[in-house]
Amino acid sequence: MTELSININGEHIKADVEPRLSLADFIRDRQRLTGTHLGCEHGVCGACTVLMNGEPVRSCITFAAVADGSEITTIEGFDQDEPMAQLRQAFHENHALQCGYCTPGMLVAARDIVTRLPDADEDRVRLELAGNLCRCTGYVGIVKAILSVLEQRRI
């Protein structure tokens, strides 16, 4: 077992974890924060994307033990976050989800796009979204939602 001291959504947590426990399984099974979804579990689909020290990472291929000392934000931790509030509304208005399976990871990736790349155009948004698979929407609504938030944030 490995000792783990981690901050998830503002809460300090100390735990003893098996080294092979992924950050995703720690978040979902141990913390019961099931908003973070798991699709492929080898880094390809993006469903499990969370923020680690403010940057998006794949929680399925990050061991919980390796995240020791870090600050994690999962989809449940964005209540007070302005860009996420804008994205939530825009996803709703632009029909950017159907089944919602990809949505938690999609929103975390979208937040990274609107904060890191304020000048992104449609091509860039689509390029950045290559790492998040959605099997329902065909991406049109997602791209529209992200572009609308980028525009809002420019004024």
Partner: protein, 271 residues
């Protein structure tokens, strides 16, 4: 939990890590960003007994220019290179390469040292850095060693690193402000591993690399000679003829996409 059981050891220093690796019993792996080892362990393609976690080891994530070389630490992430932290023309080239590696959330954790140590034939850095030239630095039981990037990748998942060595960083040439470079990756979707790579830099010497082969990337001397003599364009058909003379094991399709990649890399260098 998908990986097989293993022991996780947090290393406090490079010395400790080198000792732990040297004294290891059973299969021991150094953990970089975990972006290749993680998937391989989840798929149980890798089942190490011990994983040495270097996350808390200091001194492996620096980027500095020292006269005629740029030192890049093994644990520098692809994302930092994408964000332009490597200076000058060398940095422009590396920024372009980094931006095409996987996706931002993988680039935030994946490291340049991990990529080169891993030596996936389809990965970007082994080919891209061979085209740049320079060397790898490694720390092992016998101290620090410098190994040329020429020939460092030996084959698929196989490098010149000793079993008890940790890759600590790279010493890369400073490309002059007027130096040309080109990089072309053939893949079906942005961020995927390459089906073919062409990489060209024209620094002190002209270097041209055919990468993402079945084995190690290799330099294509005939194209380098042409570039050195001032040629600025090599057609796909010409590259195809040249590559066909190498024993790379390409079938017709692979020969074609590798020729396209290298021809377009040359084109990119003079665009």
């Amino acid at each position: 939990m998908k990986p097989a059981k293993f022991e996780h050891q947090r290393m406090a220093s490079l010395d400790e890590a080198v000792k732990a690796l040297g004294n290891a019993e059973g299969e021991t792996r150094v953990l970089g960003g975990g972006q290749s080892l993680g998937p391989m362990m989840n798929l149980r393609l890798a089942q190490p007994d011990v994983v040495l976690d270097l996350s808390k080891v200091e001194g492996l994530d620096g980027i500095e220019e020292t006269g005629n070389a740029i030192r890049v630490g093994a644990r520098v992430s692809h994302a930092r290179i994408e964000d332009g932290e490597v200076p000058g023309k060398t940095g422009d080239y590396m920024q372009f390469v980094a931006t095409g590696i996987s996706y931002r959330s993988v680039r935030n954790r994946g490291t340049i040292g991990g990529s080169v140590a891993h030596a996936d034939p389809s990965a970007d850095w082994p080919s891209a850095l061979l085209a740049l030239g320079g060397s790898v630095t490694a720390a092992g039981g016998n101290g620090i060693r410098t190994i040329s990037l020429d020939g460092f990748t030996v084959g698929p998942f196989s490098t010149g690193l000793g079993w008890d060595e940790i890759l600590t960083g790279f010493e890369l040439p400073v490309l002059g402000t007027d130096a040309n470079w080109g990089y072309y990756k053939v893949n079906r979707k942005p961020g995927e591993f390459a089906d073919a790579i062409g990489a060209v830099t024209l620094g002190v010497e002209a270097r041209a690399v055919c990468g993402a082969t079945e084995s190690a990337p290799f330099r294509v001397t005939e194209i380098e000679e042409r570039l050195a003599s001032g040629v600025q364009e090599v057609s796909i058909a010409e590259v195809r003829d040249i590559l066909d003379r190498y024993d790379a094991g390409f079938d017709d399709y692979e020969l074609q996409i590798h020729a396209v990649a290298l021809s377009r890399a040359v084109q990119g260098a003079f665009a």
